[in-house]
Amino acid sequence: MRISRTRLGLLLAVLLVGAFAAAAVALASVGAGYDRRSLRKESVEPTGVADGSLALEHAKQAERAQQRERELSRRLARWAPRGLYLVVDTWDNRARLYRDGELLREMVSSTGSGTLLRDPVGGRTWIFETPHGERRVERKVRNPIWIKPDWAFIEEGFEPPKSAVHRLDDVSLGDYAIYLGDGYLIHGTLFQTLLGRRVTHGCIRLGDDDLAFLYKTLPVGSRVYLY
């Protein structure tokens, strides 16, 4: 029996398509895909027969829940800041001073670059990140002196000096420094053009006028929120 070339070609094409389809089905059957799930609303109403005792129980329950809610509201209010507080947005590099939730002043800042510095000799590493969360103003200093840590020299390609005198720097921090603990400060800068960018080693830099205003306005003990 002879089969024409056209028929042979057709047969091969069908076989090929079939093989592809079989492979696709086989692959799909071992695969998985995402399904969207909707949240069930969990009923918080007590279930059961609503006899007299249960109704009383439910009423007591509701009363206790209200009492608990009031207590928790009070507790949350106790944690919330009162008076003056500062909020620093480390992404947009803006610092906002609030009094009882009302915005008093918005300032352009510079915050941590997130850069990792590696010491080529000792292998030590530093990450220049501004911390997140709540801090307090520990103290305020006029004409601050910066005691340069090792990374300030290593970053510039120098070995850290042996003498402590060489670590003293009375220029870089500007006119004022507000200490937030763990070596993090709000201070001035020599590089005003870099304000608004993530360029620092973790501290918060402000322009001269904003820094002077903040130094005079924000008392020691005030809360500072960094995010």
């Binding site: 692959l27 799909a28 998985a32 895909g33 949240l39 829940a65 928790l72 990450i127 510039e156 390609g157």
Partner: protein, 250 residues
């Protein structure tokens, strides 16, 4: 949740325990145990605390610490950066979705988490960090250092841009530390879940498995937002950052 049947049975079980206690431990211990077990049971079982109160309890617990946390309202979708119970910033969301991976032919019952709950970032998303390492360190020279700091330097290499799509593995849910692990998926477009895209996804997933690639996470909590908002959120996903999930009733 305590049901009526359990409530009816509870006294019998308690009396049985009391009798057993008296026989084995003597009357004094029996009296003590009796005072404890026969005292009125708390009316509000855990499951019956209103959702709103449960959410406040979780937030009050978070607010005791100075750390930031994210409060995610599932319906309507809202994300807030908070600390000490106050909102520092609102992030605009387009959608929030719970996605569960399903095999082609079976439909496993995969329970969704019961809200409210708190998850923690188990591992920060892939890093986008610039690294600096001087080739060598020169001996310290005050003048040379002062000159190097003062001299105009070329524009530093720009910081790597944070991604607008990333996954963040979440830790066990609190306070009970049970439940399946979920992964936070921050994206500007929800992965296709429509019936039309499903065959294609099954096929590509099957091909991935065939090639021995690791499967994607089984459960995704998707936050759909603008790419710029996703990039801004990236740096907040530090290890142990808490995520407070609030249901529609809170």
């Amino acid at each position: 949740m305590c049901t009526c049947t359990e409530r009816a049975l509870a006294p019998c079980v308690r009396l049985g325990a009391l009798a057993f206690c008296a026989r084995t431990h003597g009357p004094l211990v029996c009296l003590l145990v009796g005072a404890l077990t026969l005292s009125p049971a708390p009316i509000q079982a855990v499951g019956e605390v209103p959702v709103r109160v449960r959410a406040m309890e979780l937030e009050a617990e978070l607010a005791t610490k100075p750390d930031l946390y994210l409060a995610l309202q599932v319906e309507p979708p809202e994300l807030e950066i908070r600390a000490r119970g106050i909102t520092l910033e609102r992030v605009a969301l387009r959608d929030v979705a719970f996605l569960v991976r399903q095999p082609a032919w079976t439909r496993a019952a995969d329970p969704l988490p019961v809200l409210p709950l708190v998850w923690a970032v188990a591992e920060p998303p892939a890093g986008v960090r610039r690294e600096i390492e001087p080739e060598k360190l020169e001996p310290f020279e005050p003048e040379a250092l002062a000159k190097r700091i003062a001299e105009p330097r070329p524009e530093a290499a720009p910081l790597p841009e944070a991604p607008s799509t990333y996954r963040v593995p979440l830790g066990p849910q609190l306070p009970d530390a049970v439940g399946e692990p979920w992964t936070l998926f921050v994206t500007s477009e929800l992965p296709g879940t429509s019936p039309w895209s499903r065959p294609f996804r099954l096929l590509t997933d099957g091909w991935r498995r065939f090639r021995g690639e690791p499967p994607p996470p089984p459960r995704l909590l998707c936050l759909v937002m603008e790419p710029e908002a996703a990039r801004a959120l990236h740096h907040l996903m530090r290890k142990d950052t808490r995520l407070l999930l609030l249901g529609p009733d809170t």
